[in-house]
Symmetry: C2
Subunit: 246 residues, 2 copies
DNA sequence: AATCGCATTTGGTATGACCAGAATAAAGGA
DNA sequence: TCCTTTATTCTGGTCATACCAAATGCGATT
C-alpha cells in the first residue's frame, strides 16, 4: 500500500525506480546540512563549484539545488546565491502551500480544512482548560486585552485575533502546533481577508474570545470547547458567502 | 527566441521575488490541470512539445516539469512520460515526507510528532464517543475483531492495528483526517517497525483497543480519551528505547 | 572614509548533441 | 490470424558550451 512513490527517503536499495545523477549531489548536500557543516544562513556552493566537486554537469548541479529548494532546505531566489535553511516545522508545512493552493480550487476543500482547524482547536481549548498553568493564563489574558483594545481598528483586530488563537496553539509546548496554526492561517487568509470587517463584528468576536478565556479560567473544558465551536461556526457562516455562492 | 525583453509590464509587482521563465509554463500547466483539460492519469506534453508550444528552451521546459513534480501535480519517474496527478490531500501530505525525513534527524522531532498524533487522536476518540453512528460502531467493531484475530500473527496485527486507528480518523467524514493519519503512520513507521513484536504484546494492545471501543460504545468520551492516552503512552514507552538511547 | 565604476562572479536561458530506457511499429514465425 | 521478436522512434537524462543580466567584489576616485 505505498502511495508515496517519490524517490527520496532511502539512500540505497532502490530497485530501479530512479537513478538520477542529481541524487548523489542532493544526498551529499543534505548530509552537510544535517551535520551542520552547512549551517543555517550560510551559502550553498556555487553551481560551478558543485560540478567540479562532484564531477557532474551544471545541469545536474542545478537540478540538485532546485530539488533542495523544493524541499525547503535552501532558499533559492533568482540570481542570488542559494541560502541554506535548517529545516523546521514551519518550512515543512510551507512546503504544502503550493499544493494546498491547488486544492483550494476544488469544492469543499476550504470547508474541510476549516473543519479540521476547528476540530484541532476545540481539542486545544479543552487542553488549555485542563492543563493551562498560571503563566499560560497570563499570556492568554494579555492576548485577550490586546484584542479588546483593537476592536475599533479592524486591521489590528485581525492581528490580535490571530495572536489570541496562536496562544492556544502554544500552550501544549509542542512546536508542531504553532507551525500548524501558521499553516492554517496562511492557507485560509485569502478567504478571510475578503470578509468585510466592522467594529461591531469585532466586538462579537472579542466576546467569544473572552468567553473562551473565562471557560479556561474556570477549568471548564466542555464550556471552552462549546464556546470555541460556537465562535468558529459563526465565523464560518460569516465568510462562507464570500467564496461559495451556494 | 529571446523573450526577456525586460520591458514587459505584465508582472512588475514582484520586486525581489522570482521572474523565471519557467513560471509561465508552470502556471499554464497548472491551469490545465485545474481545469481538467489535463485529467488525472493523462500524460503531460513531452518536453520537446512544451518548448515548441511555449517558445522556451528545453532547459526551461524541464524545470517547469520538475517543479510540477516537486509539488506533486505530476508524477515524473525517470525516463517515463510524466503522469498528471490531480492533487489530493494525500499528495499534499506526501510532499512533506522529504522534509520531515530531515526533521527526524533532529532530537525531539519523533516525540513531537508522536505527541501531536496522540493529541489529535484523543480528540478523535472523544468525537467518536459523542457522535459515532450505528454503522460507524459496526465498522469499528469489525476492525476490532480483525485485530483480535490477528493477535498470533504480528505482521497482520500491525496492519489491523493501523486499520483500527484509521477507522477513528474516518469517523468525522473529513477527508483531511485520513490523509493526516496516513502521513503520520508513514513518518513514524520506520521507528515502529524496529520495535520488537510479540503475541503477548499484541494482546495488550488489542485489549487497549477494546477498551477504547467499549468507551465509544458507552458514549463515554472521557473514558475513551483516557484509554487512548494510556494506550499510546504505553506504546511510546515501548519504542522510545529503539531510537533514543537516553 | 565614503562613493563611484568597472571587472568578476553567479544564476538563468538557449543550443545542440548523445545516450539509454521505454513505447511503438514492423517483421517474422507458429 | 495471432503472438513473439526485432528494429525504429520517442522521451527523458546528461553533458558541453555560450551568452545574458543581475549581484558582488574590489580598486580607483573624490
Amino acid at each position: 500500500m505505498r502511495l508515496n512513490a517519490t524517490s527520496h527517503d532511502t539512500i540505497e536499495a532502490m530497485p530501479l525506480a530512479s537513478r538520477r545523477a542529481a541524487d548523489m549531489v542532493v544526498a551529499a548536500l543534505e548530509a552537510r546540512i544535517a551535520s551542520g557543516e552547512l549551517h543555517d544562513g550560510s551559502f550553498l556552493p556555487a553551481e560551478r563549484e558543485l560540478m567540479d566537486e562532484f564531477g557532474v554537469s551544471r545541469t545536474v548541479a542545478r537540478e540538485a539545488v532546485a530539488r533542495l529548494a523544493g524541499r525547503g532546505l535552501v532558499e533559492a531566489r533568482p540570481r542570488f546565491r542559494p541560502v541554506v535553511r535548517r529545516p523546521g516545522y514551519d518550512t515543512a508545512l510551507s512546503a504544502l502551500s503550493g499544493i494546498v493552493g491547488q486544492l483550494m480550487g476544488q469544492t469543499g476543500t476550504v470547508k474541510n480544512l476549516y473543519d479540521t482547524r476547528v476540530f484541532l482547536e476545540a481539542a486545544l481549548v479543552r487542553h488549555a482548560a485542563l492543563h493551562a498553568r498560571k503563566d499560560d493564563i497570563g499570556v492568554l489574558r494579555a492576548a485577550l486585552e490586546a484584542n479588546e483594545a483593537a476592536i475599533p481598528d479592524s486591521a489590528r483586530f485581525y492581528a490580535t485575533d490571530m495572536a489570541f488563537h496562536a496562544t492556544l496553539y502554544e500552550l501544549p509546548r509542542n512546536p508542531v502546533m504553532p507551525a500548524i496554526h501558521r499553516a492554517f492561517t496562511g492557507w485560509l487568509r485569502p478567504h478571510w481577508e475578503r470578509m468585510p470587517r466592522a467594529p461591531e463584528r469585532n466586538r462579537v468576536n472579542y466576546l467569544s474570545h473572552r468567553e473562551i478565556y473565562q471557560s479556561i479560567l474556570d477549568r471548564d473544558p466542555d464550556g471552552a470547547e462549546r464556546a470555541l465551536n460556537g465562535h468558529l461556526a459563526a465565523a464560518w457562516e460569516y465568510v462562507r458567502g464570500t467564496f461559495d455562492p451556494a
